[in-house]
Symmetry: C2
Subunit: 254 residues, 2 copies
Amino acid sequence: MNLKSLSGAEPQAHDETRRQLLEAAGEVFAQTGFRNATVREICRRAGANVAAVNYHFGDKETLYAEVLRDSQQKAFEKYPPLLGVAADAPPEEKLCAFIRSFLLRIFDSGSSTRFGKIMSREMVEPTGALEVLLEVRIRPMADQLRGLVAEILGGPADDAAVRLCSFSIVSQCVFFHHCRTMITRLFPEQRLDASAVEPLAGHIARFSLAAMKHLSDPETPGSKPGRALPRGAAAARVRRKPADRTPQGKRRRH
Amino acid sequence: MNLKSLSGAEPQAHDETRRQLLEAAGEVFAQTGFRNATVREICRRAGANVAAVNYHFGDKETLYAEVLRDSQQKAFEKYPPLLGVAADAPPEEKLCAFIRSFLLRIFDSGSSTRFGKIMSREMVEPTGALEVLLEVRIRPMADQLRGLVAEILGGPADDAAVRLCSFSIVSQCVFFHHCRTMITRLFPEQRLDASAVEPLAGHIARFSLAAMKHLSDPETPGSKPGRALPRGAAAARVRRKPADRTPQGKRRRH
DNA sequence: TGACATATCAAACAAATGTTTTAATTATTT
DNA sequence: AAATAATTAAAACATTTGTTTGATATGTCA
């Protein structure tokens, strides 16, 4: 007897299992990462057999690649980099949109949150699946941002300066996601969900624009690049005192 | 017969194994993270038996906690937050030192690099060992930074603004470590080791100081906080076309 | 030297996990 | 309806991995 027809939740039973696997895998991978995720847990959530992943996707890794591709596509479909601004808008306004979209892609409470979570892990522990995404999505986005920054900075294009400023902008965006754990523990009052996007995007945009507009002001301190570091001053080491030598493990029976 | 005395590399054989375990564990944990690291690999590098970790530390987790404590202590001993500035120096100068120390702690090519690598992973996947570190090291450092920022911003202390600016500063520092993978692939020419610290610190300091000095300038765009988002515009989804239904796995024999 | 605590080692254990196998079931086509 | 292909299911497999065990060796101290 067909169990599916009894449960009565499947419109077409054709590749329903496959879809549910993808869905469940998205949750699990986002929550625990590629390596920590188990195909058993994925199949359990999908209501499928343990062998289902291998049957439908070949192996765990291809399933993961599929999930990454899927979540990335959905995230960028929903929040393209220049969401809601005209093509001829001034670069400052485009930058605001860029930042806002970036944060939305990370903080959206829907299933596209997966993208942010998975990307966070890919940063620390990249898998093969990152390669394609890098060329297809990340590099074009990086180019786009550098273009905006160059426009805003004005004057003769200094590649290094443009790159560094782009880093500064992106870093502020990813920070709130990557360091979420730490931020939440240090500042429990700091909201870190979709409702936080507007204020955060506002701050990042204002901070970065103010910085770029006045980066070359002569009065700014800290702009002495050749400044040497008094390294020796703090290099004095404290000798570690010999501590208790008893084994730290569970007490042995001797 | 004593193998150690034959190999002739141990000054005092007392807790030499323990020390070597700690050293090897530092490498392995930094390289692969807590969960991916195997005690077998650690013991192999330490030239010890598989049981050594459990004998000397009880279990893998306590060993990890010990490694984190150790690397954190070394990193902050070598690079305290306000490395090389006088106590009565102006806040701008202190901020420069703060940023430089932060980067040095992350990029130092010695064994203290472990601290940065391990912390990166703790961010994404925190373990119990993070708790103590948070209160002992991170919170004081966060307070210190907020103090500096408040001084630099001047005027009436706006807690939220101070916090956001602190985030902006720290985010730029951790970015270069956390997103190392991506940065290196996008910009192979960007150096990301100890030699990069001075230029990076210089940029971050200049960028952030310029931002804070001119954050409340009226001419800065992007400071319209209530700006609504045209959400509906991009929400149109593309229907996925039904694709080839053949199983993706290894061909079955049927 | 002999007794006792400490340390090391090889082997085994137990649990987790990605994958495969074989059979049964369901869907599709002839 | 019969035959064939696609899918699901239960069990087993093979490997990895943290930990434990029991024996053996080593160092210390009476």
